[in-house]
Amino acid sequence: MTDIHTLAGAYALDAIDELERARFDRHLAECPSCAAEVAELTETMAVLSDATAEAPPPGLRAAVLARSAATPQTRLAERRPAVRRPAVRWQRLVAAAAAIIALGGAGAVGYQVASNSAHSHNAPASAESKKIAAVLAAPDARLTSAKVTEGGHVTVIASPSLDEAVAVVARLPSPGLGHAYQLWVISHGTPRSAGVLAAGSTSATELLSGVRGAQAIGVSREPAGGSRTPTQPLVTQLSLT
């Protein structure tokens, strides 16, 4: 056994630099007893985490679920992109559906839309949840997702046959004081408001109506309460075609 073995503790504590880590990883691959020791020492530190547990910020759950829904999972075996491609899209759609339903069910996101938006918000949330579920289950539902340059993601699941879409806005940068994000359905180059998030809100799940024949869904930053037409360049735009 070499001197490198004494690094097991420092390794379990992440108390080494990347170069040493890479070297020790190679060592672990050839030394099952070292790997077992590192595993137990890592578990040992995990036991301490009960003491520092604290409630995470309330918006984090929805953001994590929305983002994971749009993130394909790494498979261990076979990597054959050509074969996997259609399955991946289908899996992502189902994952997104499950996540969004989980969100709706838990009431974690809520449908934070100001009163001037296109669709009715007087309807009970459960009616909207049902509509969202219908969009996600629609055979022609298509999922598109875009990473926003400044941070965050927007995912849209659109069903032309139902004429509706679900937009999941996750962890955009703060729109700033007195501002809000607004969603737009874009047909033939003309944007129509599809809802305004609550002022300052950076994550939400929205049901959008009238998407049949539309070419894109856009998101812009607007004064709180929204605008008639986008007053600023779109933060992101997702093609529906």
Binding site: G9, A10, I16, A46, E54, L60, A95, A98
Partner: protein, 196 residues
């Protein structure tokens, strides 16, 4: 052909108390409901740990989000023969948090070359030691020698390398390396942590 995950769109019933290993395996099979339940069970521990290390709550939120998405993305790598789901997830959380702290530290160092580590790690150490509600953990931490305990907690919550720790404690490198390892082994044995 591998069987597809269940195609139900309803949320699965949540077991109580949840078996996190099972939830992580279900998440690896694409089950978002299981992943949501896993999040509920582990997020307080992950967020609390990350916040102790990165300090800033907004940064901690960002890192926790990245960690949980990584857990989802790479969940197929989890193997319960090599550790528990809690251990696996918190190891990812710790690694990411430490990465962030070191990156920020490097950026600060570039700005001003004065490396006066002014972060009050001692507070964290005191808090971690005092707040252990499980008597066993507190007792086991106190059973370590002073240098073992300080080396472990400084590294773990301060994001320091063993070199940094050696410098801070004014001890030789091999001594710190050894103290980290034998301290952790003593802690493991005292807590009765065993795998397999």
């Amino acid at each position: 052909m591998t069987p597809e995950p269940e195609r139900t769109l309803e949320r699965p019933q949540r077991p109580a108390p949840p078996d996190l290993d099972k939830l992580l395996y279900s998440a690896a099979a694409g089950d978002q409901g299981a992943f949501a339940a896993l999040y509920d069970a582990i997020a307080p521990r992950a967020y609390g740990l990350i916040r102790r290390i990165v300090r800033d709550p907004a940064l901690a939120e960002e890192v926790t989000q990245d960690v949980m998405v990584e857990v989802w993305r790479t969940s197929a790598r989890f193997d319960s023969k090599r550790g528990t789901a809690v251990g696996w997830i918190l190891a990812i959380a710790h690694h990411r948090a430490v990465d962030r702290v070191r990156a920020e530290q490097a950026a600060t160092d570039r700005e001003r070359r004065t490396t006066t580590a002014s972060v009050p790690f001692d507070e964290v150490i005191a808090e971690v030691t005092a707040r252990q509600e499980q008597l066993a953990v507190r007792r086991c931490l106190q059973a370590l020698t002073g240098i073992q305990r300080e080396a472990i907690l400084l590294a773990y919550y301060g994001g320091l390398t063993y070199r940094d720790v050696a410098e801070r404690l004014g001890a030789a490198l091999p001594t710190i390396k050894t103290r980290m390892r034998d301290g952790l082994i003593r802690l493991r044995d005292c807590l009765g942590v065993a795998l397999g």
